[in-house]
């Protein structure tokens, strides 16, 4: 006991023998905590994998609603803030206070930028009726029918995203009309809780749609699965991206699920970014006071680890959500 007091370190807790023991404990504790973060996101990745695995067409169709450019920019922003964070840790270890302060500020700005772009994305989703939960144009539940106009608007928005060069010409009035009809059809389809019992009010096109559902329930996904390796199928799919009416009614019901998963994953990630920003702000204040130096930089290091894991999760989110092929 007495001996330790000889070269007393104010940051050394009483139950540790040496600073390095304390530092290593903190690090292993942080890493174990990061493992829990990965497992937690793992649950969402699992939901993603299962629904993408069972309904690939839905994901292929719905991901067009996301803005790949904004996603890519956000990736770069987050990577850059990771760089400045790593630099900040280095500065703290070397005792370079001004650099540390600047780096923390830049990292914080990176977080602000990321959340800003995220806000732009979210608000554009919101304004097109593609929000979370039942506020999604594709949301289907008996009793809360999707508003056909809202749905048409959303579809138009998504498909103008999907095929800006190749398919713009196809969005003729006739095309739109068909979509409206389809949207109307959908309501009736959902009414039929048990399935495909016919309704006399349906137009002929809708009837054929119903037939489609019973005869080819797996829809396009099974087609894709079966003709794997057959180049022609891919050529067709490349030339003409999926449209809403390419999906069978069962799949049309599931389109909103892509958005739910998208909002859950990016939302949880966004919350982590916000928490990280709060922590970095706290570090920033302490760094201004000159708390950190070669003998005491553990908080900077740990927050850095946290910030990097947030980045690391985004590295997976980006291709999985924005770059579905």
């Amino acid at each position: 006991m007495n001996k330790v007091d000889d070269n007393h370190d104010p940051h050394l807790a009483h139950h540790f023998d040496t600073p390095v023991q304390q530092y290593s404990s903190a690090k292993i504790g942080m890493w174990v905590f990061l493992a829990t973060e990965i497992l937690m996101f793992g649950g969402l990745f699992c939901a993603y994998a299962v629904y993408r695995g069972t309904h690939p067409d839905v994901f292929l169709y719905a991901h067009h609603f996301l803005d790949t450019n904004l996603g890519a920019i956000n990736t770069v922003v987050l990577l850059a803030s990771s760089l400045t964070m790593a630099w900040g840790v280095r500065a703290a270890q070397l005792g370079q206070k001004p650099i540390l302060v600047i780096m923390l500020l830049l990292t914080l700005l990176g977080g602000v930028g990321f959340m800003g772009i995220k806000t732009i994305e979210y608000s554009s989703k919101y304004s097109h009726g593609l929000w979370f939960g039942s506020d999604n144009a594709f949301y289907v539940k008996s009793g809360k029918y999707t508003n056909p106009e809202e749905l048409t608007g959303a579809i138009e928005y998504g498909e103008s995203h999907a095929m800006p060069h190749e398919d713009k010409g196809e969005l003729t009035d006739e095309h739109l009309e068909l979509q409206v009809k389809d949207a109307a059809t959908e309501d009736v389809l959902d009414n039929q809780a048990a399935g495909e019992a016919q309704d006399q009010s349906l137009p002929a096109s809708a009837q054929s749609n119903i037939g489609n559902a019973t005869n080819a329930p797996a829809g396009l996904s099974s087609k894709f699965a079966e003709v794997e390796g057959d180049g022609s199928a891919y050529v067709t799919s490349e030339k003409k991206p999926l449209t809403y009416e390419d999906l069978d009614p069962q799949q049309q019901k599931l389109v909103s699920q892509f958005f739910q998963i998208y909002f859950l994953m990016t939302g949880l990630h966004g919350i982590h970014v916000l928490v990280g920003m709060a922590l970095i702000f706290w570090l920033f204040i302490r760094a201004l006071r000159g708390t950190f130096g070669p003998k005491y930089f553990v908080p900077v290091d740990l927050v850095g680890l946290y910030w990097h894991i947030v980045d690391l999760i985004w590295i997976f989110l980006f291709p999985l959500l924005y770059l579905i092929h």
């Binding site: 994998a49 790949t68 990577l79 630099w87 590295i315 092929h325």
Partner: protein, 134 residues
């Protein structure tokens, strides 16, 4: 025992050029992963996207997160976490794909549904259409 460890009090500081090199690599990989979606490779696309993401993640973990110079236990925590996420997703996905056949309507139900369509519905077009369907 307490004092003897002071000699080991030494933390690896990552050189700046390493940080920049890693950052450059990450940016290049990001461009690559966006670019590769323009090329149609069939089922390979997703695996390439995931592969690039894994490489990026490894770079971040090894250099930004110092794992390369850290205690191997810390790296183990990360690896184990990913392995268990993999186990979880693997089993759940495998099961979901296998049981899809039960999600589809069984033929029995369709037959029964047909039978229970009431005969007395007067609007005749529907009945005709439905029978022409099958």
């Amino acid at each position: 025992m307490s004092q003897s460890k002071h000699a080991e009090y030494h933390v690896h500081v990552v050189p700046l050029r390493v940080l920049f090199a890693v950052f450059a690599a990450l940016i290049i990989l990001t461009i690559l992963t966006v670019g590769v979606t323009k090329v149609d490779l069939g089922g390979l696309n997703i695996w390439i996207a995931l592969g690039v993401a894994v490489v990026k993640a490894v770079l971040v973990a090894l250099y930004f997160m110092h794992l390369r110079w850290d205690s191997p236990y810390n790296g183990l925590a990360l690896v184990v976490a990913f392995v268990f996420v993999g186990v979880f997703i693997g089993f759940a996905l495998k099961d979901s794909l296998e049981y899809q056949k039960y999600v589809e309507r069984p033929a029995l139900l369709d037959r029964l549904q047909q039978q229970t369509i009431p005969a007395a519905v007067p609007s005749e077009e529907t009945t005709e259409e439905s029978s022409s369907e099958h």
